[in-house]
Symmetry: C2
Subunit: 239 residues, 2 copies
């Protein structure tokens, strides 16, 4: 399936409105992706200014959420769309909600990065490469989900959601490591809890990417797949 479902309206103006909403969602998605990238880099390098930028960007993300929501409501009220167009607009409302929450989580990573930077020397930072790998995974998941939205290729959805098991495994392993370090030296506890919140935030970003995928399957297929197993989902999105 491609983008051809958009662009079939007799009203050129309606087409433009839907395209505009789609573009704004992708802009918002790009901004949130950048937030995660910067937050994780700020954590790895101890760059406080970069972390502060992430926190500032959250206002932009929130403003986009409000603007897109408003635009969707206007279109729903004035155009009274049905079928695919209706699902598209409702899906957009759900996706911007997920993205706003991802933005909040990136902000949280940035806040923890600032706290950790003030608490420890940068020489200790190379200990967290597992966390950086997990960050890469969830970034790929979110990027993939946004790509599905841009190209409406929902066959890709199953690949993205299947990565969530890896994320959960890595998350579990990081938590166990953190507990070990806390036990070895209780002076580590506060710092390790900050790292734990970062791991937790990343894990939840992966969940939101999966939620976006579910919404997209609904948009394209008109079927609610939120509570299916991975195997059932794979069956559903097959080409």
């Amino acid at each position: 399936m491609d983008n051809s479902k958009i662009g079939q309206h007799i009203s050129g103006q309606f087409n433009k409105e839907l395209e505009d909403v789609r573009n704004k969602v992708l802009t918002m998605g790009g901004l949130v992706e950048q937030q995660i990238e910067l937050a994780v880099t700020a954590f790895s390098t101890g760059d406080v200014e970069m972390a502060e930028l992430v926190i500032k960007q959250d206002n932009q993300v929130d403003a986009l959420e409000v603007a897109i929501d408003h635009e969707c409501m206007q279109i729903l009220a004035l155009r009274q769309p049905a079928a695919f167009d209706l699902r598209l607009l409702i899906t957009v409302i759900k996706i911007v909600n997920e993205l706003e929450r991802v933005g909040d989580l990136a902000e949280r990573v940035a806040e923890m990065a600032i706290q950790l930077t003030s608490a420890e020397s940068s020489s200790k930072r190379d200990q967290y490469y597992e966390l950086e790998h997990m960050a890469e995974l969830v970034q790929n998941m979110l990027h993939g989900a946004l790509d599905v939205f841009a190209r409406m290729n929902i066959e890709e959805v199953a690949i993205i959601t299947s990565l969530d098991d890896n994320v959960d495994r890595e998350y579990g392993s990081i938590i166990r490591q953190l507990i070990t370090r806390m036990m070895e030296d209780p002076r580590n506890i506060t710092r390790m809890l900050d790292v734990l919140w970062i791991a937790r935030s990343l894990e939840r970003i992966g969940d939101h990417a999966c939620n976006i995928c579910d919404h997209l399957v609904y948009m394209v297929k008109g079927e609610d797949v939120r509570h299916l197993t991975q195997a059932e989902l794979e069956e559903k999105v097959k080409g």
Copy 2:
């Protein structure tokens, strides 16, 4: 403002549909409230069967989410509502999403309750009365938010959202206590982390109750108040 906005439609069938959706949301809300109540009691008393019931109930909550979402989409497609009716349906879609997440958090509390019960004797349980108080606070918030939905008395919203500061304060205090206990005896760490996840879940239930309030103000007033300060919100909902 009262419920009189519903019931003005020439089509009695349309009225019935909207009433039905509203009732289902309240049923779902009641179920989620019960989940929290049981999860917290299971934690306090170490009742594993009760905790398992909470986990089972989550299927019902998920099913209600899917059913209500579907019903809203049907009404949107067939009735093409505008103004208040449109906002009501979009708000319902957002509220059931918040409630579903609250249900997941209650499930998480129940899971931690099970883990803690297998790890410690019940004589230790009276140490967590602060957590129980925090649970009470967020239960009141959620109950209040659902009451606003039932009675559409949005003046009450500001009282509910103002409680979130108390929740955050109690949450901070609980976290500091848990850290102290971990430092005093590192053998406590794993158990204290389980309690920490419970505190975190409760804190987030409070956030979801606030989100529901924001959605309800939008429904009634048509204004997006999600990113306002508490003072701005109070101004907005004044009678």
